[in-house]
Symmetry: C2
Subunit: 365 residues, 2 copies
C-alpha cells in the first residue's frame, strides 16, 4: 500500500459508556471511532484516518445538502461464542459500493484499502461488538459530495466515512412472519433510473409509500416495476423469494432492483443444497394464482438487517394472499439458521464467506 | 405572527469582500448571512433566525447523509436601475417547497414566515445584490433531515436554511441557442416517483446522463418519460416549449415533470399576448415530424437560471433536428426581454409578479 495510504489512527481520549445490550434497537448508538478519507479532484482519495467519532463541519452550500450525490453500504460484524469477531462478505459490500459510485458519478474507492480500514476500525472498537443472542455491530460505510457549489454536476470533493452502531436482535420476540402491502401507486425505481445503486434518493422516495403501509398496519411495501406495475421488484429494504411447487423463484436483477448480498448468499446456499432456484421475472398475478391453486408454499425477504424475514401475508389491492398459514416455512427456517450460524461462526462456512478481524489489525498506539 | 416566530437576527461582526461582478459565475460565492429554522417532532418549526453565514455541524449519522430526505428551491433577487430590490414570484417557490415537502414526508413550513425570513435576509445582505447587466442574487432555500438515526423512516428533526449567492449573467456572451441531447437510456423520473418534487435524488440521478451529453458536446439532456421513452418531459433543469405552426406546445404536468415557475409565467404571458398555448403530451416523434415538414418554428427552455434558453438543435439517436437555423426565435426573444424586464423593474408588471424588498424589512440592530 502506498505511503499516502497508510491509515493514521487518532484514538479517543475518553470512551463512551456502552449501552445495555437488551435495549440496543437499531442505529441509535455509535461507537467511539470512525474512519474518514477525503477525495480532492486531481489528488484522488487521500488521508485515510481513524479518528474519534465526531460531528462533520460542512459549508451549507455543500452539494450533499442540495443534489443528493451520495452512496452507502450496510454490513455487520458478529461476535462468536469463542470471542472472535467476524465480518460477513465485506468485499461484496465494497464491490457494490463501487458499482453505486459508478452510477452516481462518484470516484471509485480502493476496495482493499476500504477493507483494511474497516478491519482496523472494528479492531479499535472491538469492545462495541455486542455478544447477546441476535445482536451485532452494524457498519455503515458512506460517501457524500462535499464541494461547496450550487451547480448540478458531479462534485470535485467527497468524504468516505465509516461509522458503526451496536444493534439489537431483529427477532427479539422470535421470528414472526411479516405482512407486506403491495404498492400500486408509488414507484421506487425504474429501468434507466438508480434502483440498482445504494443511494439516498431511492430511500427518500420510498418514505411516502411506507407511511401508507404503516397506517394500514403492514410492515413494509412490495415494489412493482415502474413501467407496467405488474412485475415484482423487491420489498422495502429486502429482496424477495417465493417457493412455488418446490421450486425457489426470485426476481432477476434488472437494473432497478438492489443486488442484495443476502440474496446472493441465499441463492448460493439453496443451490448448494441441491434445490432448484430460478431468477426471472415474477408477476404479482402469478403469485396470486399460485396461492389460489395451493402451490405457493413460502415467501421470505433477504437483507442484512433481518437476514431472512418470512412473509406471512401480502395485500394486493383488495386481494389478501396468506402464505403458509402465516407461519415460517421450512426453507426460510433452514436458511436463517444456516446463514446466521455461519455469520456467528457456529456453522461450517463452505464458501469462505466470513472474514475474521484479527488481533494484529489493532494499530499500536 | 406568534412570539416564537419572531426572527432573531445576529449580524456578522465582519463583512466579507464582495467578488468582482465580472467573474461571479454561479453558486461559488455566498453572502454574509443565512437564515436557519429548526424542526423538532412535537415542537414543530422553531427558532427562526438570521445568523452569520457559517458551517453546519452535523453528526455523521444524520439522515441527510444516508437517505437523502431533502428538498430545495431556487429563485432570484434583482437590482433595478433605480436601486430597488425585487424578488420574482417568491410565494410560488414556498408553495412548491411545501408540495415537495409533502411528497418527501417533510413537515410543511409556514409560507408567510418563510417569505418574511427571505425578505429580511435579502435586506440584511442587500449590498450583495449585484447590479451589472444580467447579474442577480441567487437564493437557495432548502430543508435537510438532521436526526442522528440510521433507520429508513421520515426524520423527527430538520433544518430549513436559506443561503444566497451573487451570480453572473447567464448570457455573458449574448443569447446563444443551446444544443440538446435526447436521452434514450437513463430516466430522470417516472409516474409514481419523485419527479414533481424538487429533491436532491432527482438531480443525483441525472448526473450520469449529463456526463454523456458533456462528452458529446451537448449542453443538456432532454428527458423522455420513463415508461414508454416516447414522450417529452423536460430538459436538464428547464421546462421545454415548442412553437409548431404558430401554436405554442409544452408537455402537460403529469407528476414526473417539475412544475416550473418560469414555465407557468411563460404560459401566462403568452396567453396574455393572445397566443394559443397547449399543455399536452408531446412525443419526440411529433417534434421530429414537425421539423421534417417545416412546421417546427421554435423551441426553448424555461427556468430560473437562464429564464428563457433558446434551443437550436436536438440530437435524437442519429437524427439531428435543427430548429430555426440554430437561431433564437422571435417568441423566445420577446419572452426573454419581457420577463427579464419585469424582473428588473424595467417593464410593466401586469400580473404583479414582483415583490419588492422594502427598506423597513431591515431589522434594527
Ligand atoms: C432496497 C434494498 N433491497 C435489498 C437489500 C438487501 O441487501 P443486502 O442483502 O445486501 O443487505 C437492501 C439492503 O440492505 C436494500 O436497501
Ligand atoms: C428539473 C427542473 N425542471 C425545471 C426547472 C425550472 O423551474 P423554475 O422555472 O421554477 O426555475 C428546474 C429548476 O429550476 C428544474 O430543476
Amino acid at each position: 500500500m502506498a505511503e499516502e495510504h497508510t491509515i493514521q489512527v487518532e484514538l479517543a481520549s475518553e470512551r463512551k459508556p456502552k449501552p445495555n445490550e437488551d435495549g440496543l434497537g437499531f442505529g441509535r448508538h455509535f461507537t467511539d471511532h470512525m474512519f474518514i478519507m477525503d477525495y480532492t479532484e486531481g489528488k484522488g482519495w487521500h488521508d485515510p484516518r481513524i479518528v474519534p467519532y465526531q460531528p462533520l463541519s460542512l459549508d451549507p452550500s455543500c452539494m450533499i445538502f442540495h443534489y443528493g450525490q451520495s452512496v452507502f453500504e450496510g454490513l455487520k460484524a458478529y461476535r462468536t461464542e469463542d470471542d472472535r469477531i467476524l465480518l460477513f462478505r465485506p468485499t461484496q459490500n465494497f464491490q457494490r459500493l463501487n458499482r453505486s459510485n459508478d452510477r452516481m458519478c462518484i470516484p471509485a474507492v480502493d476496495e482493499d484499502l476500504a477493507l483494511e480500514a474497516l478491519k482496523q476500525l472494528v479492531a479499535v472498537d472491538k469492545e462495541w461488538v455486542p455478544s447477546a443472542e441476535g445482536t451485532s455491530l452494524y457498519i455503515r460505510p458512506f460517501i457524500i459530495s462535499t464541494e461547496p457549489f450550487l451547480g448540478v454536476a458531479p462534485a470535485h470533493n467527497y468524504k468516505f466515512i465509516i461509522i458503526m452502531s451496536p444493534v439489537g436482535s431483529y427477532y427479539a420476540e422470535g421470528i414472526k412472519p411479516v405482512k407486506i402491502l403491495v404498492e400500486n401507486k408509488f414507484v421506487r425505481a425504474v429501468a434507466g433510473g438508480t434502483g440498482e445503486a445504494k443511494t439516498g434518493g431511492n430511500y427518500a422516495s420510498s418514505l411516502k409509500a411506507q407511511e401508507v403501509a404503516d397506517e394500514k398496519k403492514y410492515s413494509q411495501v412490495l415494489w412493482l416495476d415502474g413501467v407496467e406495475k405488474k412485475y415484482i421488484e423487491e420489498v422495502g429494504s429486502m429482496n424477495v423469494f417465493f417457493k412455488i411447487n418446490g421450486e425457489i423463484v426470485t426476481p432477476a436483477l434488472n437494473g432497478s432492483i438492489l443486488d442484495g448480498i443476502t440474496r446472493k448468499s441465499t441463492i448460493e446456499m439453496l443451490k448448494h443444497w441441491g434445490m432448484k432456484v430460478t431468477e426471472r421475472r415474477v408477476s404479482m398475478e402469478e403469485i396470486y394464482e399460485a396461492s389460489q391453486s395451493g402451490q405457493l408454499e413460502e415467501s421470505f425477504g433477504t437483507g442484512t438487517a433481518a437476514v431472512i424475514s418470512p412473509i406471512g401475508e401480502f395485500l394486493w389491492e383488495d386481494r389478501k394472499i396468506v402464505v403458509n398459514n402465516g407461519e415460517i416455512g421450512s426453507t426460510a427456517k433452514k436458511l436463517y439458521d444456516t446463514i446466521t450460524g455461519i455469520q456467528r461462526g457456529a456453522e461450517p462456512d463452505p464458501f469462505n464467506w466470513v472474514v475474521e478481524v484479527e488481533e494484529q489489525s489493532v494499530p499500536v498506539k
